[in-house]
């Protein structure tokens, strides 16, 4: 009895000593992000990482989205900041890379890069040196949320073509529902709204012509697609110019509206807010019957390593781990985001359906191609779209503003 107790005490002591020893050697690294709402999930993931790497502890530090660029660029300019930094993709990433703030990643330092598909890697690659600086973390899909209960109540089926969309919307409106929950009150979402409804009218050919310099946004196809947006105004809530994306979400989940143009990133949010919701996520209406349904897809961002980090090795280890299937599986399950990592199994039915839609997706043109220099396509479009929807400028004018603005730095548009 007493011997056992001594044994236990010894075991406890050595365990405690072990802990103390590992604590003495432990490296603390920090992870900076704007995803404040993902705190719990990341802490769970980081706990897994520490189980495998007991000598590395990761601290989650989050900042409000609106102030994130300021905070990160200030800290990095002074040689400070988190060891691992959550970045947005494309042009946003490039300006940091150009300043030398991030560590390049390759297969020797981050072997799990091999798990990433090519189109995801583009989002984290600097165009000038073709090196990866940020390990992609999720793809986002833009499409149409459907409140199945509302459709059942109204005795209607969700539309697949534009004409059906209009017919169904008229019927929904007569039955007292808002057909489409969206408004124009949230600038960043307006750009996504445009992408969602214009992309099926534009098609992959247009993207090819645009990026190869054959055409500009003044193309009649683009102007016509913008014109379609004006038809939507009749089916949005009254005062839609002032309705923000949060309100739209509320109208949708409370069953006041039947459809919502939105992003797969909000599936989890809507489920938390209304666990009873019976919803679907489908492709936006196609131009005509028989067309391939086309959602819009883009890569959100990735994980970069601070070039001035005092714990670069540990930071690279963490980033490498965040590129493994083990991370991807749990990440997708916890956050309802689609991890681009090859072989990741998505258990959630709706999310798996979204992943399927991704196979025929269109790129988010502005985000993927036109955010590299000033003025960005995003600021030009976001500035003009509310004016177009309120009728103070025409689609032609918007297309011209966008093309002329981008021509400042995008060579193929110059002189057109």
């Amino acid at each position: 009895m007493s011997r056992r107790r001594i044994g236990l005490a010894l075991a406890a002591a050595s365990f405690a000593w072990g802990l103390a020893a590992s604590a003495a050697h432990a490296t603390d690294i920090s992870f900076w992000t704007w995803r404040q709402e993902d705190k719990a999930a990341y802490n769970e993931l980081f706990a897994d990482f520490t189980k495998e790497n007991p000598d590395i502890h990761v601290k989650f530090e989050s900042f409000p989205d609106e102030n994130y660029p300021t905070i990160v660029s200030t800290a990095l300019a002074a040689g400070k900041g988190g060891d691992v930094i959550h970045t947005h993709a494309y042009g946003w990433l490039e300006q940091f890379v150009k300043a030398g703030y991030f560590e390049p990643q390759d297969l020797t330092t981050v072997p799990s890069l091999a798990n990433q598909p090519a189109d995801a890697l583009v989002a984290g690659t600097y165009r000038a040196d073709k090196k990866v600086y940020s390990l992609p973390f999720a793809s986002q899909t833009l499409g149409l949320f459907i409140n199945k209960d509302v459709f059942a109540q109204a005795g209607l089926t969700p539309p697949t073509t534009w004409d059906e969309f209009i017919t169904v919307s008229k019927a929904l409106k007569e039955k007292g529902f808002y057909p489409l929950a969206n408004g124009m009150g949230t600038s960043w979402f307006n750009e996504m709204f445009v992408a969602i409804f214009t992309n099926p009218f534009l098609g992959q050919d247009f993207v090819g012509d645009l990026t190869s310099g054959k055409t500009t946004f003044k193309d009649p196809r683009y102007v016509a697609a913008l014109g379609k947006l004006l038809e939507l105004r009749d089916y949005m809530p009254p005062g839609f110019e002032g309705i923000d994306y949060e309100t739209a979400g509320q109208l949708f989940i409370t069953g006041k509206a039947a459809m919502l143009a939105g992003g797969s990133f909000d599936i989890a949010t809507y489920r938390t807010q209304n666990p009873a919701i019976n919803m679907d996520f489908i492709a936006p209406p196609t131009a005509k019957a028989g067309d391939t349904p086309q959602v819009t897809k883009f890569f959100d961002g990735g994980y970069a390593v601070n070039a001035k980090s005092a714990n670069k090795e540990a930071a690279l280890k963490l980033v490498n781990w965040m590129g493994t299937k083990e991370f991807g599986d749990k990440f997708s399950a916890l956050l309802g985001n689609i991890s681009p990592i090859k072989g990741v199994v998505i258990k959630d039915e709706l999310l798996a359906h979204v992943a399927k839609l991704n196979e025929t997706a269109m790129p988010h043109i502005n985000v993927v191609y036109f955010r590299f220099e000033k003025p960005t396509g995003s600021e030009l479009l976001q500035g003009d779209i509310t004016k177009m929807m309120s009728g103070s400028i025409t689609p032609d004018q918007l297309a011209a503003d966008l093309t002329d603005g981008l021509a400042k730095w995008y060579k193929p548009f110059q002189g057109k």
């Binding site: 704007w34 989205d65 609106e66 994130y68 660029p69 300021t70 660029s73 990095l76 300019a77 947005h88 042009g91 946003w92 490039e94 300006q95 940091f96 890379v97 150009k98 300043a99 030398g100 703030y101 408004g183 124009m184 009150g185 949230t186 600038s187 960043w188 750009e191 809530p237 009254p238 005062g239 839609f240 110019e241 002032g242 309705i243 309100t247 109208l251 955010r371 590299f372 220099e373 000033k374 003025p375 960005t376 995003s378 600021e379 030009l380 976001q382 500035g383 003009d384 779209i385 509310t386 004016k387 309120s390 103070s392 503003d401 002329d404 603005g405």
Partner: protein, 311 residues
């Protein structure tokens, strides 16, 4: 300037100089270290080209040329500047005008004036974040109390913050609500310094409220008016927080609420949803804001001080 009343030199001029210098030193040291030096470093960037977040070369006045004369930047600059000017005029008329009337009403010391002084200042202690959120809720096109009230008289859903013609006015209104207490109390303090005998004498001469207000009170509170005018001017040209909370960094809809503060911040620091940062152009905008505000303030102070009457 009334030099005659100033303290003139005495014996021990070095002791006097040392005394004055030691009074000024702490404030000057803090200002030089934490305002002057950082601002000059930032202003320097206005003359550099940026490719990414680090300067790549000296380009003289190129950034200024762009924000002043090259579309689309120049269009954005003048649009924002126009809104700053509108904000100043509107705040002078509505915020300070209301404040003047309120102060005059409170001066009468009718029953309840003390509690009213407390109430009118209450919003001033709140943050712009709270004020912005509250008024967004009140002005909401579907649920907002303003529209629900208007619906009673048959007026349909007005998207106050979403309409190009009403957005700036709505944001200004929230600002007036937020800050009204400050000019009210400053003006009231000024009015209470006007001696009771002067007011009584005017009353005995048969002056009514209007005459009293315009001919006696108004000229005599000149120092308070100077403070309020200058602070309003600087406030409207550095206006940032309320539009930021209510209309976002892009001054939505379509730049209808854009002001120089938002525009410079957006240019220098970007936003995660519109893309990239340009410290060069951002600093050029800030230098221009500085020149406008400092220049006008200096001129206005000189003019306003001249009409101040020594009490």
């Amino acid at each position: 300037m009334n030099n005659g009343r100033r303290h003139t030199k005495k014996a021990f001029p070095w002791r006097r100089s040392l005394w004055i210098a030691s009074l000024l030193a702490p404030a000057l040291v803090v200002m030089v270290l934490l305002v002057l030096w950082p601002l000059l470093s930032a202003f320097r960037l206005a003359f550099y080209e940026f490719n990414g977040l680090q300067p790549t070369g000296f380009i003289g006045f190129e950034n200024f040329r762009k924000v002043l004369f090259e579309q689309p930047y120049s269009g954005w600059t003048y649009n924002a500047l126009k809104h700053n000017i509108i904000a100043f005029v509107a705040l002078m008329v509505f915020e300070n005008g209301t404040a003047f009337l309120l102060a005059y009403a409170l001066l009468k010391a009718l029953p309840g004036h003390r509690i009213h002084q407390v109430i009118v200042f209450l919003p001033v202690v709140l943050s712009a974040v709270i004020v912005g959120f509250l008024w967004k809720l009140f002005l909401h096109p579907l649920f907002g109390l303003v529209n629900q009230t208007l619906a009673l008289v048959g007026i349909g859903a007005i998207p106050w913050l979403g309409n190009e013609h009403t957005a700036l006015g709505s944001v200004l209104f929230a600002n007036v609500w937020h800050w009204l207490g400050f000019p009210t109390l400053v003006l009231l303090a000024g009015m209470q310094r006007v001696s009771k005998e002067v007011i009584e004498a005017a009353r005995l001469d048969g002056a009514g409220d209007y005459v009293l207000m315009t001919k006696i009170i108004w000229p005599l509170i000149a120092p308070s008016v100077t403070i309020v005018t200058i602070l309003t001017f600087i406030g409207s040209f550095n206006w940032f927080e309320i539009p930021y909370v209510m209309a976002g960094l892009t001054g939505s809809p379509g730049g209808a609420t854009d002001v120089l503060g938002l525009y410079f911040y957006r240019t220098a620091f970007g936003s995660t949803t519109t893309g990239i940062q340009d410290f060069g152009q951002g600093s050029a905008l800030a230098v221009m804001m500085f020149i406008i505000v400092a220049g006008v303030t200096a001129i206005a102070l000189r003019y306003l001080r001249r009409r101040e009457i020594e009490l």
